[in-house]
Symmetry: C2
């Protein structure tokens, strides 16, 4: 441009490069949060993991809290996709619930390095916290409705859907605390075992 | 004493008073940690909840980390007692496991204000962290051995004991994140529902 202004619309190549860089920053940040905790992690720590200077991060995020917020948004976006898929691919509540548990475990273990997201909501600003909590509440309602549907259809026992869903989410969120990608437990196996166990505990049982 | 020294051995009355005061401090600290997070809580916040000045706390604890550490020790002491009781009062692995789940839920909900203990290990010094983690590991082994015993005796399905125990502990520890003593879910009911659900998921099932 003759007057020296930066063009408003970057080329597809640049957009893709930025998108990838952004994902790398989120990934490095989550690793750092997980290893050292959100509070002790600095922007310098995150930059160092990427082999860049802190100022390079400012092209993408204004501060550490914004990075955490975007991590949350990405993870909740994945969960929204999971919910749609479960509706399309499964029929009975037990199948849908097993699908969601397996996929949620996958999000926890693979996409986000055993995400510390489950733990860092209090670090967000009040507005962002409210947004993330509202999205989580929607997800909880979907799970509760599935449990309720299973009870009404005679597939599940008469549990308290609220308590059962808290147990399920606790089991899944806790993965962030103990799971090591390099450890003996494989992510797929973990998802299947959790689905079998946590849906199995809801199913109507015949006494032996 | 004629020379003005403080006696070395306080009277039973004073000892009891100190013991109660100490428990009050731990209790107030846990409430503060839970409401505002460990990192943002100050000794002044804890003192304010007790209607005293910060200096009064120094008679009991040198710093905030020591308070957190003592909270952990108390809670792990309770868990050690639970394990002994389960051995005495129950016979089959399923009963023992159900007992431990119910009692652990009780510790989480009643004794320690929906304890934030489950979450604050990284805030401890390396030595103290190692001690607390070792005690937790011992507890995890007890639970895994019970699952294994149940599988060998034909009572439980052939699950991965490690994964099942992570699910159980995740469900229980997560209580600290959502449980409100003034809420609709009663602690006893929560313990029983968790025990039914989490032991039920392990039991051998007849297909319907």
């Amino acid at each position: 441009m003759a007057d020296g202004r930066v063009p408003n619309t970057p080329s597809p190549h640049i957009r893709e490069k930025r998108r990838r860089r952004r994902a790398e920053i989120l990934h490095a940040a989550l690793q750092a949060f997980r290893e050292n905790g959100y509070h002790t992690t600095t922007l310098d720590d995150i930059a160092e993991r990427l082999g860049v200077r802190k100022t390079a991060l400012y092209h993408y995020f204004p501060d550490k809290e914004s990075i955490l917020y975007e991590c949350h948004r990405e993870s909740l976006g994945e969960i929204a996709r999971m919910i749609e898929e479960a509706e399309t691919c499964c029929e009975r509540p037990a199948e849908k619930l097993a699908y969601l548990i397996r996929e949620h475990v996958r999000v926890m273990t693979e996409t986000l390095e055993g995400s510390p997201l489950a733990f860092e909501v209090p670090a967000l600003s009040p507005e962002r916290r409210a947004e993330i909590i509202a999205a989580r509440d929607r997800y909880e309602r979907v799970l509760r409705d599935l449990v309720l549907e299973g009870i009404r259809g005679g597939e599940f026992q008469r549990v308290d859907p609220k308590i059962a869903v808290f147990a399920i989410l606790g089991a899944i969120n806790w993965i962030a605390r103990w799971y090591r990608p390099e450890g003996a437990i494989h992510a797929d196996e973990l998802g299947s075992e959790f689905a079998d166990y946590l849906v199995g505990g809801l199913m109507c049982r015949q006494p032996r």
